[in-house]
């Protein structure tokens, strides 16, 4: 299909947008880190590695990401295997609940968890009561690492689970039957057939989890675990003009994530065997015996409960009136909710967030629909490149982009220190663009080409054809994707913390962060605000889930 002038305009517009707001800030960061004063130098990296605090931060971040990935895999593999192989009571509900922690913001969960894991918090008290430990463990001090890791694992294991389950579901049952037919027994079957076929999913999940854990800013910040790369970068935003360490760190993170991401892609590219065989009925999911069923249901329910603990803790914290030396609060109050809404930062924060999120959702809708339309309906030379580029923000941590924005647009009319609104909107939109593109992409694929041709044949020029036929047919996808973008933007952490510098522009997440540190009962008020946020997020995601149906899970796969 020939590309007509209006489409070229759209294409050029998208390219300019991506160049200015994706490639330029990244290039700027690279330039500052590698070309100080115009000549190539690795000096900053040498300084970075010479600094023991930095070395520690880098090591910590790696350990954190590795441990999180490992624990998430250990948790997710059995769940995925069981859910693909067996039927059990309330399977739909439990499998659905299993995914809930993924969409719960770890940032607010961490606030609750911090209370739970306090020196005389619920966990220590409970463990002492049971008699497993004698003295309280200092989760928030020496063992802070594990506190952060636990919150991250509980947040990220569903990503791993989704990817593994998808790989397992793709295995044609006839492959397994063939192995059994050739004489494999259960254990050998797992080792020789199931495991190798599961590995692509395991890898895909691991890559996402690893990058996420490596670059998450909110969780370590709430735990005051400052010796990790993201927090170190965050600390250098304010003095980035005088201290180039931040740039070097950002380049390091970016290089690492890109490397991991590309390695992963390369690996799957050469190993496209997981969907070799197709067709045939799904292997009958087996029904285990009564004991097995009880075991499975209990295990699933337990995982869901544990995974939601941070958020349960958050609710309890927000309700507490007196809570000292007991597992659960002694008495409850709603006053924190009133205080939360009454604080001078709160209402403007909510207003800012809604405004910013709405604008970024709108921007993503326009961009996502245009890109998806070009990709699905107008395959052209280079459309594969466009496809790859719009997926790139998945591999660019929010932290990196925000840092690039602050540096790259300093002194321009977009300077976030003056007015962060345009860049916040763009940052939110850029980060979630891949999801929107995928949602719209799926929509366009479902709408048959001939339905559009029929409209043109009946006399509609392309814009009216899109408005009267295509858009109504893909509206469910667009609304679902839009809600996803909106709710993620409402609870976005790194961009908000870094880009919003003046108080009157604070979005809700930065307000929560500020409350946490500023006032005497900050933690409780922040929790109350976090609960408001969670309720809001849950409602919008439920709506998105209804609209997107099964397709929602696909958005989180690599």
């Amino acid at each position: 299909m020939k590309i007509r002038p209006p489409l070229i305009a759209v294409l050029v517009g998208i390219s300019i947008f991506l160049c200015v707001f994706l490639f330029y800030p990244l290039a700027y960061v690279f330039k500052e880190a590698l070309l100080p004063g115009g000549s190539f130098s690795m000096a900053f990296f040498r300084n970075l590695l010479a600094n023991p605090i930095m070395r520690e931060a880098i090591a910590n971040s790696f350990m954190l990401a590795a441990v999180t990935t490992l624990l998430a895999a250990l948790l997710a593999i059995p769940l995925a295997l069981v859910s693909v192989r067996y039927t059990f009571p309330a399977k739909g509900l439990l499998s659905g609940l299993l995914l809930v922690p993924m969409i719960m913001p770890p940032f607010v969960g961490a606030i609750g968890m911090r209370q739970f894991l306090a020196r005389f918090g619920s966990v220590n008290l409970l463990l002492m009561k049971i008699g497993w430990i004698d003295a309280p463990i200092d989760w928030l001090g020496a063992a802070r690492f594990w506190g952060v890791a636990i919150v991250m694992v509980l947040h990220l294991y569903p990503v791993m689970y989704l990817n593994i389950a998808a790989a397992l579901a793709n295995i044609d049952p006839s492959l397994q039957e063939a192995a059994v037919n050739l004489g494999s027994n259960g254990r050998r079957l797992f080792r020789r057939v199931t495991l190798p076929l599961m590995i692509p999913g395991l890898f895909a999940g691991s890559i996402i989890v690893f990058i996420w854990a490596l670059t998450d800013l909110g969780t370590p910040l709430v735990f005051e675990y400052r010796r990790v790369i993201p927090v170190q970068i965050f600390d250098r935003v304010t003095d980035m003009s005088s201290n180039p360490e931040g740039f070097a760190l950002v380049v390091l993170v970016l290089a690492l994530t890109m490397l991991i991401f590309l390695a992963g892609k390369r690996l799957f590219g050469t190993r496209a065997y997981e969907t070799l065989a197709k067709g045939g009925a799904r292997a009958g999911e087996k029904q285990p015996g009564l004991a097995g069923r009880i075991l499975i249901v209990t295990a699933f329910a337990a995982v869901v409960f544990i995974a939601l603990l941070p958020h349960i803790a958050l609710v309890l914290t927000s309700l507490r009136e007196k809570w000292f030396m007991t597992v659960l609060p002694e008495s409850c109050t709603l006053s924190h909710y009133r205080n939360a809404l009454g604080h001078k930062l709160t209402l403007p924060g909510i207003r800012n967030s809604i405004f910013l999120s709405a604008l970024s959702t709108l921007l993503d809708l326009v961009l996502g629909v245009s890109v998806a339309y070009l990709l699905v309906r107008r395959r052209f030379k280079g459309s594969d490149i466009l496809d790859a580029i719009v997926m790139l923000p998945l591999a660019v941590p929010g932290l990196v982009l925000a840092f690039g924005y602050v540096g790259g647009f300093a002194g321009t009319m977009l300077d976030p220190r003056e007015n962060p609104v345009p860049l916040l909107v763009i940052a939110y939109a850029m980060r979630r663009l891949p999801y929107m593109v995928r949602a719209a992409y799926a929509g366009f694929q479902q709408v048959g080409r001939t339905l559009e041709e029929a409209a043109m044949n009946m006399g509609s020029p392309v814009p009216r054809m899109l408005r009267r036929v295509t858009m109504p047919l893909i509206s469910a996808n667009l609304i679902g994707g839009g809600i996803l973008v909106f709710s993620f933007a409402m609870l976005e952490v790194s961009d908000s913390l870094i880009l919003a510098i003046k108080e009157r522009f604070f979005p809700i997440t930065k307000v929560i962060y500020q409350l946490l540190h500023r006032i005497e009962d900050g933690a409780y008020v922040a929790s109350a605000l976090g609960v408001w946020a969670m309720v809001f997020l849950a409602l919008s995601l439920m709506t998105a889930g209804v609209l997107l149906g099964r397709r929602m899970g696909q958005l989180f796969r690599a």
Binding site: T450, L451, E453, A454, M456, N457, M458, G459, S460, P472
Partner: protein, 353 residues
Amino acid sequence: MVAVSLRAVTKRFGDTVAVDSVCLDIAKGELFFLLGPSGCGKTTILRMIAGFETPDTGEILFDERSVLELPAHRRNTGLVFQNYALWPHMTVEQNVAYGLDERRVPKAEKTERVASALNSVHMGDYARRMPNQLSGGQQQRVALARALVIEPDVVLLDEPLSNLDAQLRLKMRHEIRRIHDETGITMLYVTHDQKESLSMADTIAVMSMGLVEQVGSPRSVYRSPHNRFVADFVGETNLIPGVLSRIEGNRGRVATSIGEFLARVDQTGAAPGDRVLCMVRPECLVINPGTAENRFAAVVRRNVYLGELEQLELEAGDIGVQAVLSNPGEESFRTGKELLAGFKPDDAVILKA
């Protein structure tokens, strides 16, 4: 309503030539068929006329006016899609009214025209239904009504009956022909079904690999194919190889391994001495002919009795020959029976080998 002409139209997709300098003239009010196997380029021609593809070279004319500069939405063609392409989010009524909305037809007139279009395809009672509540045949009718209601210059039908079951297909053939005769509209109908084209068409263009092999009435395409492809594709046929020995007027004499036959030479362009094929349709064969000119001895290899017909597989020398007898009588043709078969020179055509 317009006459549609293609002048040396060529369309390539990558390295394959989908349509190879095709010339066609579709007269005003004609029901014109493009017949050919899948991949022969017939649908590409239809899509070029509708404006969904652009020819690499050549011209497409509506009444001598080039339409190549007109985008699809301004061609005023009514396209009936193979999969119907009814919009699932609109009622039957809204589907049919769509083209009238685009043409800014006043409301009262629109209502009336939609109703009369639906009535003409016997779907008047289904106006408020959604497309997914209709059967395949009903969807087909709605698609037809949608294309007709805008009073297009030409109606384009892309294998419209291929998704229907055999019985419905027969019924819809009559329906479409009736609608054509009532409206007198120019129609271009694309199909690979030779029965459909023979029974419905005013004119048939037989296509193969991007080329138009022959254009003519159903009768001439069936009885006087210009080449082996057309003979094979339109109906069953016997092709007896031989050498053209003499031409006498419009008759040619062919020497074959099972005898010397007289047949029409028509437009085949064969000259004496050429290797040729003597084409004769199975139903033109006569068993135990009187003193017919073209006679040969054969043995029955197989027979299938169908009531109104009887199919015989004969073997003459080393050549297999098919015969179909209408109104078969008491005589039985068991395997191994020896007999004489023959055909009239008028029923046979000489083709280039």
